[in-house]
C-alpha cells in the first residue's frame, strides 16, 4: 500500500531561557493510505508537537518527514502553505470554525483557497455536509450548533479539499461519549471512502477500537 507519511528520527527541542525541553525524541513511523492511526498519551507527552510537525506547521529540530516520498522539512516558508493546502485536512479540539460564517461557508473556505469555482465549491460542500448529517443546518452559524455538530462541520471542512492526510487533534476532547463516537465513526467512514489516511491524537481510550493502529507517546518517545 502507498505510504502517505514517513517520519524518521524526528526530534523537536524547545529552547526557552536557556532551558531545553525535548518534546519529541527520535520518533520514526509511517502511515499508509486508507489507515486510521491513533497517537495516545498523557498531556504534555509531545502528541500535538508531533502532529504539528507532520502537518508542516512546526519545523522539526532534526529528522525527516516525507509526504508521498517528498521531503518537506527543507521547504521554505512560502512553500509550506501550498503543501498544507494540497495534502492535509485539519480537525481541532476547539473546532476553530469562523463564528461569522455559516456552516456552509465554513466548509467552503478550503475550497476558496484552492480557487475552486463558486458553484462547484457549494455543491461539494453541500455533499460533504449531507455525509456528516448536517444537511438541515447549512445556513446555521456555529454558535447555534452543539459541540458534536460543530466537530462534524470541522470534519466536513477538513475533507473539503479532498486531502490525502487528515490530522485530528483531540477531536473528541470537547464532546460527550455519544457525540465523540459518532464523530470518529463519521471520520473513519469518510477516510475509507476518500482513500485518505488519518492520524488522530487523543488521550481518549474509548476510541481505541476505531483505530487500525495505535501508538503511545510519553516524554517524546513513541512506541506502537
Amino acid at each position: 500500500m502507498e505510504q502517505a507519511v514517513q517520519v524518521e528520527n524526528l526530534v523537536k527541542i524547545y529552547r526557552e531561557n536557556k532551558v531545553e525541553v525535548i518534546a519529541v525524541d527520535g520518533v520514526s513511523f509511517s502511515i499508509s493510505k486508507g489507515e486510521v492511526i491513533g497517537i495516545l498519551g498523557p498531556s504534555g507527552s509531545g502528541k500535538t508537537t508531533l502532529l504539528s510537525m507532520m502537518g508542516c506547521i512546526l519545523r522539526p529540530t532534526q529528522g525527516s518527514i516525507k509526504i508521498f516520498n517528498r521531503e518537506v522539512t527543507n521547504l521554505g516558508e512560502n512553500e509550506l502553505p501550498f503543501v498544507r493546502r494540497k495534502f492535509f485536512g485539519f480537525i481541532f479540539q476547539g473546532f476553530n470554525l469562523f463564528p461569522p460564517l455559516t456552516v456552509l461557508e465554513n466548509v467552503k473556505l478550503p475550497l476558496e483557497l484552492r480557487d475552486v469555482p463558486r458553484q462547484e465549491a457549494e455543491k461539494l460542500s453541500l455533499r460533504l455536509l449531507e455525509k456528516v448529517g448536517l444537511k438541515e443546518r447549512v445556513h446555521f452559524l456555529p454558535r447555534d450548533l452543539s459541540g458534536g455538530e460543530k466537530q462534524r462541520v470541522a470534519i466536513a471542512r477538513a475533507l473539503a479539499g479532498n486531502p490525502s492526510i487528515i490530522l485530528a487533534d483531540e477531536p473528541t476532547g470537547n464532546l460527550d461519549h455519544k457525540s465523540g463516537r459518532l464523530v470518529i465513526e463519521t471520520l473513519r467512514e469518510l477516510v475509507t471512502k476518500n482513500n485518505a489516511c488519518a492520524v488522530i491524537v487523543t488521550h481518549d481510550n474509548r476510541i481505541f477500537q476505531s483505530l487500525d493502529r495505535a501508538f503511545y507517546i510519553e516524554d517524546g518517545k513513541l512506541r506502537e
Binding site: 500535538t48 502532529l51 504539528s52 502537518g55 506547521i57 512546526l58 512560502n78 502553505p81 501550498f82 498544507r84 493546502r85 494540497k86 492535509f88 485536512g89 485539519f90 481541532f92 479540539q93 476547539g94 476553530n96 470554525l97 469562523f98 463564528p99 461569522p100 460564517l101 461557508e105 473556505l109 478550503p110 476558496e112 483557497l113 484552492r114 471542512r157 477538513a158 479539499g161 487533534d169 483531540e170 476532547g173 470537547n174
Partner: protein
Amino acid sequence: MFSVALKIILYDKVRSLITLSGVVFAVSLIFAQIGIYLGLMETASTIIDHTPGDIWITSKNSRNFDFSQPFPEHKINQVLAAEGVRDAEKLIVTWAVIKQEEGGTEQIEIVGYNPDTGIGGPWQMKEGHFSDVKTGNYIIIDESSVRRVGEFKIGDYREIMKRRLKIVGISKGVKSFTTAPIVFMSYKLAQDVGGLIGHDNTVFIIANVLEGFSPKKVVRMMKDNLYDIDAFTKEDFSRKTRLYWTIETGVGFSFLITIIISFFVGMLIVGQTIYNSTMEYLKEFGTLKAIGATNFNIYQIIFSEALITASVGYLAGLIITLLSIKIYVINDMVFTITIRVALSVFIVSLIMCFSAAFFSVRKIRNIDPAMVFRS
C-alpha cells in the same frame, strides 16, 4: 476573501457601526473643511474668474485682487500697442464706506467698470442690467449685501462717501472673501467716489489677446517691455489672489490642520477596531493559515474590511455633506464640492482606512499556525 470580510463586519454590528461612525465623522469633517475653503477661495477670485479677459495688468508687485494699488490709466495705450493685444479695458476696485439706513457705516468694495462693455461688471442680474449704471450716479448692489447694508430695492438711494447714489440694479452671486458688500458703478463714478484712486488712475487693465497669440507669451512680452506695471494671465492672477488669502491669512493652514486631524482621528478609530477584530479572530486566522492560507490571503480579508468600511463610511459622509449644503446656503456661505474633490476625498478615505489596516498586518504576519492546536 471579500465575502469573509463582509461577514465579519456584519457579524458584530455594534462594533462596525462605531467604526463607520468614525469614518463618517472624519469624511464629513474633511468635506466640510474643503467645501468651505473652496467656497471662500471661489469668492476671493470670483470677479477675476467671471470677467472675460485673458490678461490682468496691475500696479507693480500687486499681490491680490482686493488690495491692488492704482497706476496711471494712460498705460492702457502701451497695453493696446503691445504685440498680440486685441483690446483692453480699465477696471477700478477700491474701498469705500456706505451709510446704513438705521445709522452707522459699513465698509464696501467698489467695482468701477465700463458700462458699455460690462467687462468687470456683474455677470448675473436679479433685477436691472449692467449697462443701467451708465448715465448718472447709479449703483448696482449684490443681493447678498442685505445683511450688511439693510433691505434695499431698485430706486432706493444710498450714501457712499457722502454721495447720494441711486440703486438701479441688483446682482446675484457676487460675494467677496473679505465679506464686504460689493457695489458696482461706472468707471468714471468710481474714480470720483473712490477718493484714493485719483482721476487719472486705474487699478486694473484687462486685455484680450489676438487669435493665434497665447496669453502667457503676451504676458511675458509685457513684463519685458512695460515699465512699472505687472501682468498676469487670468488663471495666474486668480491663483495668486487665492494663494494670498490662503497663506497670508493663515486660513489655508487652519483648514489643512483640521483636515489632517480628521484624517488621523478617522485612521485611529478604524485602526483600533480593525486591530481589535483581528485580535478577536486571531485563532481563526491561525486556522486559515494551518489549512493552507498564505499571509496574502489573510491580508485580503483585513484590507477588504478596510475597503468596505472606507466605501460605506465615505458614501454616508458624502450624503450628509450634500444634505448639509442647504445649511451653508441659509447662512449665506459659499460651499463648493466638485466631482474632483469628491473623488479626492474618496481616495483620502481609502488611504485612511488602508493605513489603519496596516496596524493589523504585523500581527497577521507573526501568527504561528501552531497556535491552533492550543485549546
